[in-house]
Symmetry: C2
Subunit: 205 residues, 2 copies
DNA sequence: CCACATACTAAACGCCGTTAATAAAATTGA
DNA sequence: TCAATTTTATTAACGGCGTTTAGTATGTGG
């Protein structure tokens, strides 16, 4: 039955074409610039065709985000391999997180800054689901924090609390720098570096 | 010439009505729920009338932001009066900032989480202007940090750097808790308390 | 050859921000 | 007082949006 397979391959090709078109618009100009109609025009299909491959616009963009966050997770896991000191892992990891967000602002906005009203309940549960790249990345962060505590390099605190606090602060750096990009910030490097180092220094035993 | 004045008063009244209607929609259902048409219907005028009082939707948005900043600033200044210790001011101030954001999520979203694409260049320069409430609030924060350093209660660091870092982290707490309200966070109180205290402890001399 | 599933589309619905043209009302000046 | 003028508000429209419905080709399996 080679026919069915060819058909499925062709479907997959079109699905990728849609994603490619959307990714390009999205990376260049952000969420609002990705309109189903524009994507359709780019791939020379009618707008309704997209709905045969994605439930709706947020489904399409969710797929793009997962793609991106897979990269982030991979990046994070690489660091863990190349270092034995969990504190160092944490420092580099948080720094990378912030840099990653700042260099992929549109993806970051959709994943971490989009108003919950914009997402369907289904999308929300997908973001929170244990299989989502975001959740996996968080769990990885928590494990590293736990390791720091276990090795007595950090005070004896709840790893969940510490990991969440670190995430919140790092998110603040990314998101506010993205949104208020016209504010007269001091140099980014100092801002990122000081924020992370200051938080970690407070945690050290 | 009392006539001119009465006219201006009447204009001001309608302007306030528009702001009230917009604010209510904002507070109840968020940014997307504020459409020029809905606001118009609420005040029983035609949609185009709004354009006689505000340049466009982002101008309307800006006005609501200023309002919010003003409340924050006022709140912050009150704290300063009731305490002599700048470190305590800072701790209470940051805590209030976070609480303010969490109890007025839609206001906070409009002021600090709205996409810059939504704002015109004019609005952006208005935000940065030294007269804007946001700038004033930030300068107030920076002054308190400077005072902590001056009194040798903090390490000798750039007050600008420290103030911005504290703002970024606090913003992270507010904004991520708002957006990811379905994430399994530990209790809010612990999260807020630990984040602030940890940052401040790292700064102490 | 026909019934059927698949892939796709045209047209429409009901929103949206915004603009142009115009009407209505208030104010002014003669 | 009454016409001219300015101010205020409206109607209708433009071009966009996400999405749904109903329908058309096209190629497959019996």
């Amino acid at each position: 039955m080679g026919i069915k397979e060819r058909r499925e391959r062709q479907k997959e090709v079109l699905r990728e074409e849609i994603l490619d078109a959307a990714r390009e618009l999205f990376a260049k100009e952000g969420y609002d610039s990705v309109s189903m109609r524009k994507v359709a025009e780019k791939i020379e299909y009618s707008p309704t065709t997209i709905y045969l491959y994605f439930k709706d616009k947020s489904d399409l963009l969710f797929s793009l985000c997962e793609e991106t966050f897979e990269k982030l997770l991979h990046n994070f896991e690489e660091i863990t391999k190349h270092s034995t000191d969990p504190v160092e892992c944490l420092e580099i990891g948080l720094c990378n997180y912030i840099r990653f967000g700042l260099t992929h602002p549109n993806h970051y906005k959709v994943a971490f800054m989009s108003r919950p009203e914009d997402l369907s309940l289904e999308d929300i549960s997908r973001f929170i689901s244990p299989d989502s790249m975001g959740t996996k990345a968080y769990l990885h962060l928590r494990d590293i924090v736990a390791e720091c505590i276990k090795q007595k390099k950090f005070k004896e605190l709840d790893p969940e609390l510490v990991a969440q606090s670190l995430w919140l602060a790092s998110h603040g750096v990314v998101s506010l720098l993205i949104v208020k990009c016209h504010f007269p910030w001091v140099e980014r490097e100092r801002l990122i570096d000081h924020t992370i180092k200051n938080m970690l220094s407070g945690l050290k035993a």
